[in-house]
Chain length 295, copies 2
DNA sequence: CACCGATCATCAGTGGTCCTGATAGTCACT
DNA sequence: AGTGACTATCAGGACCACTGATGATCGGTG
């Protein structure tokens, strides 16, 4: 019962992802024989078949194990990265990841301030899907991340606890629903989200608050997607809103002044859109400087 | 860089906990020599000293690693337990862990129902600190757990995501503050929690809602502990409240009718006390039966 | 339908890893 | 300074995990 070796788990995950023993062997720098044996020992350890062969696909038990393998490997990588930060000299680089909805004007100012106080540091800003950011911060590929979500005013943002990360609020805006100017509700001062659960919504997972998130905070179903917007740019999405293709929930500043649209705040339930800065518990000096900017 | 082996991490954690190489060796069934070598390779891998010797204590880097080691080992154990559930025959036993505040009358009825539908299974109810329950469910030492907390009505209970666990609501009660009958606020119909932040509170981590939880939901400091109650029995705590030693927050049913005390509901912020049943995503039949009881 | 290419399983051999047991070194305490 | 308890180091051996070669099995193809 030496089982649950991270080594084996990693090759298992790779084989399952590539659906091939040989391809996994190439990716990991093993022989195919080694991979075959590793899977065999793993299957012996847990006393079950984890993969169907030919075609290669996870069995039910294998699928279950995969659900554990990802977080486990991620946490292990986070631990390594965390220690590496303590040991190696702090690099002269600051890579910040930001979700598309999480790029307020303040951020540019903050980066400028870091540039002034840490002249040698090479700044990089990467725009990434919000869901990927915490993992990248935990594994050290990002020195800091800017995440965002709609949430109750007192609640913290829902972040997966991959590693002990620190966060601090960057910006909190009212959550609004973007409506075309001729929409029946466009004249309202405010509205309750539940009343719009059956309206036509645009499904824009990165350019607006995801519909799934609305369902989650409301604890209900509804919000049927009328059309899908795959881009990350809120401005493009708002043109669709103006054209009457559907509604979208966004932080207020992004909707203000967009022609053809009206922003009506959501007041029931009480919701805000919050942007938070995320960084390692023990950040490099430049990341720490970025964080103190928002104190 | 073969590092971050769970094997090494486990002995590191043991050494740090027992503050002794030799004791860790005894506990793990190794020679002291082996433990010494394992720590050495771990320290070589991460290129830092992790433990001070004589006396044995974690260095700052070691402390950091310890923060990762616990969750990692726990998740690994959870993965093993999860697969073991799939493989081994479902045992004829149902062990349920319950927090002291999470034993509503319904639970007894639910256990009785399981006893009726699954006559062969041996029922066990263990009362445990709420904080330990999720980990024990994840590792399979409990088949189900009953957890509780004060939370906003729409929010899920804050559970560490050690493993994919399923939960379902058992009971939701108003959150009340228990006051002695002669307290100035005892006549009030309701009260706002913030107004009591500077009152005298009893610090009862298991027999009432922990003060830290009140600070967390309020997002503020305050709630200075006037006295500490280490027991797990709310009734004993309420005697202290009646005697005027301090206040305590509890679910309404536990305070109702206790002589010398008055229960005043907290209405601002909107808070409830919720009890949830926690079990594996793929529970044994008896645990599943228990869960369906609360559908 | 026989063949071929690709893929996974199996096997023997080997280098390295990780133990044990013994011994040396080091510290705290008297 | 002496003692006892502890950790570090070393040599040796068992075992494990890899490579490379070979065998088995499947899908596609002329």
């Amino acid at each position: 019962m030496s089982a649950m070796d991270l080594h084996l788990l990693r090759t298992f995950e790779t084989v399952a992802r590539l659906r091939s023993f040989s391809a996994a062997a190439r990716e990991l720098g093993y022989t195919q024989s080694a991979v075959s044996q590793q899977i065999a020992t793993l299957e012996t350890d847990v006393r079950t078949r984890l993969l169907d062969r030919r075609p290669v696909a996870p069995t039910p038990a294998g699928g279950r194990l995969l659900e554990h393998a990802g977080p486990l490997l991620l946490r292990a990588a986070a631990a390594r990265a965390d220690l590496a930060r303590l040991v190696t000299a702090p690099g002269a680089r600051l890579t910040v990841g930001a979700a598309p909805l999480a790029q307020p004007p303040v951020l540019a100012g903050a980066l400028a301030a870091v540039h002034r106080t840490h002249p040698g540091v090479a700044l990089t800003l990467r725009v990434l899907p919000a869901a990927e950011i915490p993992a990248l911060v935990a594994t050290g590929e990002l020195d800091a991340g800017v995440v965002e979500a709609a949430t109750a005013p007192t609640d913290p943002l829902p972040l997966p606890d991959l590693a002990p990360l620190a966060s601090r609020v960057v910006l909190e805006s009212p959550l609004v629903v973007a409506l075309p100017t001729d929409h029946p509700l466009a004249r309202h001062e405010w509205l309750r989200l539940a009343d719009l659960a059956d309206a036509r919504w645009l499904d824009a997972p990165t350019a607006a608050v995801p519909l799934g998130r609305l369902r989650a905070v409301l604890g209900s179903d509804g919000f049927p997607p009328a059309a899908r917007y795959a881009g990350g740019d809120p401005a493009g999405l708002l043109r669709l809103v103006a054209a009457g293709h559907g509604l979208a929930a966004l932080p207020a500043p992004l909707v203000a002044g967009v022609p053809g649209t009206v922003a009506v705040p959501v007041t029931v339930p009480r919701l805000v859109h919050r942007v938070e800065l995320l960084h390692a518990a023990d950040p490099a000096p430049s990341a720490a400087a970025l964080a103190t900017f928002f104190e």
